[in-house]
Amino acid sequence: MKVLVANRGEIAVRIIRACRELGYPTVAVYSEPDRAALHVVYADQAIPIGPAPSRESYLRIDRIIDAAKTTGADAVHPGYGFLAENAEFARACRDAGLLFIGPSPESIDAMGSKTEARQRMKAAGVPVVPGLTEAVKSFDEIAAFAAQAGLPIMIKAAAGGGGKGMRLVTREDELRQAYERTTSEAASFFGNPAVYAEKFVESPRHIEVQIVGDQHGNLVHLGERECTLQRRHQKVVEECPSPVVDEELRQRLGAMAVKAAAAVSYYSAGTIECLMGPDRQFYFLEMNTRLQVEHPVTEMVWGVDLVKAQLLIAQGGKLPWRQEQLKPSGHAIECRIYAEDPARKFAPSPGLIRYMNLPQGPGVRNENGVYPGYTVPVFYDPMLSKLVCHSSTRADAIERMKRALMEYRIQGIETTIPFFTFLMNHPDFRAARFDTGFIDGLLPQLALGPNRLDRERVDAAIAAAAILAFEDAERVQLPADQDSQWKRAGREEAVRGGL
């Protein structure tokens, strides 16, 4: 089976790796600036699909289908983001005789609209966050909901997901602007300006459950992931298992997730995202009908390969595990390494990576999408890699992550590596005391530069810089000498030749 990977960056590399282990040839697609990207140079074949903007390349269904036909690919893996949750794309693949490595277009449709998903889940007896189940037709409906339910509320894109296109409103005078911004973002990211509102769950944790199903009606869950730590509603650290979920709660979450997936006849890998209040009441938030960014933490703890499972299931294969065979082991943490400056509220920091030292050693997995000499483009999500550490306990996994972060060096651009070092040392993180607002609360501290070096180290760095400046100054005088030696040798050579 030849597989076209309709994505870029680290996830495209991850999928190509799974294909390679299974002996499946791979086809990468790329936009103009991505010709030398890692996923392109790593694949067996690569086909250009347009200029830099995603809507003219990675979002062009027609060009991707053409690339699959040109190369004789049998299947398409969408990764996550881009077209991964686009039912039209899944349908176009099916119509073109290509296997879509993911769920059916019908399941994607059912879960793709947040409002429809909320209606379906309510009907199936799955708890949802209190709020509207229809998109609003005007600002007045948002204002009416806010007045009736009371602030704070969340305004969300009906077609949204993955934390994009949503805004928290805590004050009435912010309401209109938040509505307009969310509508505008919804239109530009999801091509659909519809929004709705729901009550904001105070001090929530973000817990999600991994499920996998096959086309024969078998469904299992692979426990939960803790995804509470976010900035701008984007996850940055994920853990498996959640430090606040015990076995009893895990069984209840798992049963709820399987029920939710079954309600839309789901197959392939998928994730049920939940909000959990301090009272451990949980609510269905959305289903991600695709592989999740943070899937490696589940893979490490549950000893599975979700991408290989997806490839098997798409070909009609039966689920390789039964629920009672699946047992978690140890603890895994993932840090998303972004090209962002933590000291400037995580502002993007694209540019040339001059030097890179990747972390290695026991229990370390780095899902990398870049290399030294690579220029991080401005057009796409700024994630460089995902650093995942696994160990027997959460405390050991944290220490392992600190060690790996120390080894991980990227020079040329700002990254979130120093932020994660700070976080791994933070007493509240270590004690698992956090909610979704935790990182925003750290921003003032981060602006000061969180990992202050002691005087000894600063002195050592200054001494090194002074020596290097001294060496450079000396070198300026050297070439003349070397030059004359070369000239002398050359002259001697010429003289000898003349003899």
Partner: protein, 165 residues
């Protein structure tokens, strides 16, 4: 060789001399005997007399030295005092009042009009970069003299956006 290290706006006198197989560095009132080796293009290993070793990633841009140690980074400027005297007078001036794009992106919306009075912190426009909408704010109080961009424009990092008088 006598140098000045400028670190966090403080100038420190540094002297570097060759000593044995390495160097002697006098830094303020401290003196170290060290050796420094290059481990590849960017990695330097600094070893003190007692064997303590620091692994540094080093990059130099002009006089600025960017150094990473462990998970932290510092920037130190190493100045040759003779060269400094020449340069100091040239650095005044600048283009006060022009708000520039900190990163490349696309202009989504303009929030002000030419001639409008703004206060420091007033939102001027929305710049979308890396899938995020960022509000660019006025750095000073003043009047909007000119707007150089319009919605839909793609701008490079450093591009002039708005001029504030």
């Amino acid at each position: 060789m006598k140098l000045i290290a400028r670190y966090e706006d403080t100038d420190i006198a540094v002297e570097v001399e060759r000593h044995a197989d390495g160097y002697r560095v006098t830094l303020g009132d401290r003196c170290f005997s060290v050796d420094l080796v290059h481990a590849g293009r960017y990695v330097r290993s600094l070893r003190l007399e007692d064997g303590t070793q620091y692994s540094l990633v080093h990059n130099r841009i002009g006089n600025m030295h960017e150094i990473m140690m462990g998970g932290s980074r510092i920037e130190v400027e190493i100045i040759d005092p003779l060269a400094l005297r020449r340069k100091s007078r040239e650095d005044a001036g600048g283009e006060g009042g022009v708000v520039k794009a900190l990163m490349p992106g696309r202009i989504v919306r303009i929030l002000v009009e030419s001639g409008q009075a703004v206060e420091k912190g007033t939102g001027l426009l929305i710049l979308e970069a890396m899938k995020m909408e960022n509000e660019i704010q006025a750095p000073v109080d003043g009047t909007v003299a000119e707007i150089f961009v319009k919605p839909g424009d793609t701008v490079e990092g450093g591009a002039a956006l708005v001029h504030i008088d």
